[in-house]
């Protein structure tokens, strides 16, 4: 079981179990974790599930669409990702993501 830790901008933490096949964005919505808007529903075309990956094993690199959307974020960092593009896979290591101050 992969445990996903969401750290809010105010520092509060929430740990939830990941379901294989769901994205981190879907996982957050499923457990009512705030801080992720997910306007477009998972297509990497809105950028409102921006997160910073703090702890993880190697993840597949972002594709060109995700990179393009991340490029618009004024608060982009090296560990920026869209939560809708990180899928929980079988045997995946635990992962910790920090959420930004706001989504837009």
């Amino acid at each position: 079981m992969t445990v996903i830790t969401f750290i809010q901008h105010d520092g509060s933490e929430r740990m939830v179990d990941g379901d294989v096949g769901l994205s981190l964005m879907e996982t957050a919505l499923k457990h009512d974790v705030p801080g992720i808007d997910a306007d477009c529903g998972g297509g990497a075309i809105c950028g409102t599930c921006h997160c910073f990956v703090e702890v993880s094993d190697d993840l597949p690199a972002p594709d060109s669409q995700e990179t393009a959307m991340l490029g618009l974020r004024p608060d982009r960092a090296d560990n920026s990702r869209l939560a809708c593009q990180i899928m929980v896979s079988d045997g995946m290591a635990d992962i910790t993501v920090r959420l930004p101050e706001f989504q837009m």
Binding site: C40, Q65, G71, L72, P74, M104
Partner: protein, 419 residues
């Protein structure tokens, strides 16, 4: 729909696909566009129109096709213009909405922060104050024009607030915004001539340049959009490049004007058409944010954006040559039942309600989305608290513009709660 004598709704189902005219703004003025786009989505989702006042163009009408194009910015460029008409060569303003990466990304990032939710919190109290003033001054139990007294007045005041624009001159902002989007070729001849538009753009630039210089270095806290631009190292010298400064100002004015204004009017119309939804939101005001998203979908205040192909490309079996205009009909995608369940219903508890195309998709997605949502949320929070009834009491008049879906007049009567 009160059409004038001698005009009639085209027989969209009866005519051949080649003869369908997707360029006539009267389809929005008289609100008969549904059938046109329904047929295009069903039978000809990538449609070519060889002749129109704006020249030949392609129409893309299905949700998924629009999204696919928005993802492929290399093939479907936003340059030279996102409007169906080409810009005049001597007045190409530098707007990031009409740029491709990487320049687009740098320019957009530079001004993004001015409408970031962090700054919006600062604006929220002011916007609420203005909203309350406007609503409290409305006449009681007699018909008035909601467009004039609420939507127009409120968006003008909000724009003036955001720019800290001289209060007594604020109507200029709305006028400039209307001018910029009223080319005769997309308004069935009702718009303004090029010379008049240029005259106003020049006046606008002049006024904003004065304001810039008045404010530069005056030591006041960066609270308005001009000072926010001055405060950021990326944009602190923007005034030295008038085409860029004007481009950004214009984007902020137009982007924050018709869109919000027409959604403010649309909401009243929809809640009157669907009284069950009005009852729901009255019972549970927590539904207001969700209702706001549904209003924005249902209205789709900017019905399209245009892209231009950078190479020959095949889309759904249609071959589009390099250099052609491709118009993405967000208004059609927002009513595409392949993606949107029961699209013709105004449904404030809609699942995935934020999943619409009114803000566009991909890297050009509306930068002011959170500001727009906040303005509409505040309007409805305050209106529903004050008014026991908000009644449409006459036929709305709609805007004759291919680029704007909106209202020019909306007779409404309100009744206040008796305390």
């Amino acid at each position: 729909m009160n059409m004038p004598m001698g005009t009639s709704v085209p027989d969209y189902r009866g005519m051949s696909l080649e003869d369908l005219d997707v360029s006539d703004p009267r389809m929005f003025q008289y609100d008969y566009w549904h059938e046109l786009f329904a047929r295009l989505r069903e039978e000809c989702p990538i449609h070519y129109q060889p002749d129109s006042p704006a020249g030949p163009f392609w129409s893309v009408t299905r949700y998924e096709d629009i999204v696919a194009i928005e993802r492929d910015t290399e093939t479907f460029s936003s340059e030279p213009s996102i409007a169906i008409i080409d810009p005049e060569p001597d007045m190409i303003l530098k707007m990031f909405i009409a740029m491709d990466p990487p320049e687009h990304d740098d320019q957009r990032r530079a001004v993004h922060h001015v409408v970031a939710p962090r700054n919006l919190q600062e604006f929220e109290a002011l916007i609420r104050e203005r909203t309350i003033e406007v609503l409290d001054s409305l006449p009681e139990d007699e018909p008035f024009d909601w467009v004039k007294l609420v939507s127009r007045d409120l968006t003008t005041k909000m724009l003036a607030t955001l720019f800290d624009f001289p209060w007594e001159e604020r109507n200029k902002l709305t006028k400039w915004s209307d001018m910029f989007t009223s080319d005769v070729r997309i308004t069935a001849g009702e718009g303004y001539a090029r010379e008049v538009i240029i005259e106003h753009i020049t006046a606008c630039l002049q006024r904003f340049t004065e304001l810039w210089h008045e404010r530069k270095g005056d030591g006041k806290e960066a609270f308005d959009l001009i000072r926010l631009l001055q405060a950021d190292p990326n944009t602190e010298n923007m005034v030295d490049d008038p085409l860029t400064y004007m481009g950004n100002i214009m984007l902020l004015i137009v982007g924050g004007n018709d869109t919000t204004r027409n959604s403010m009017s649309g909401g009243v119309v929809f809640l009157n058409q669907f009284p069950g939804e009005m009852a729901k939101v009255r019972q549970n005001p927590d539904l207001i944010p969700s209702m706001v998203s549904e209003i924005i979908r249902y209205q789709t205040p900017l019905p399209h954006m245009r892209r231009t192909t950078t190479r020959d490309v095949e889309l759904n079996g249609r071959k589009i040559a390099k250099g052609e205009k491709v118009v993405l009909w967000f208004v059609s995608g927002n009513y595409d039942d392949a993606v949107i369940e029961r699209p013709n219903d105004f449904w404030i508890e809609r699942p995935s309600v934020r999943n619409h195309l009114s803000f566009g998709a991909g890297i050009h997605r509306c930068m002011g989305n959170r500001l727009a949502e906040m303005q509409l949320r505040i309007l409805w929070e305050e209106a529903l608290q004050r008014f026991e009834t908000i009644e449409v009491v006459g036929e709305p008049k709609r805007t004759c513009n291919l680029f704007i879906r909106g209202f020019t007049e909306l007779p409404v009567k309100v009744g206040r709660f008796q305390s």
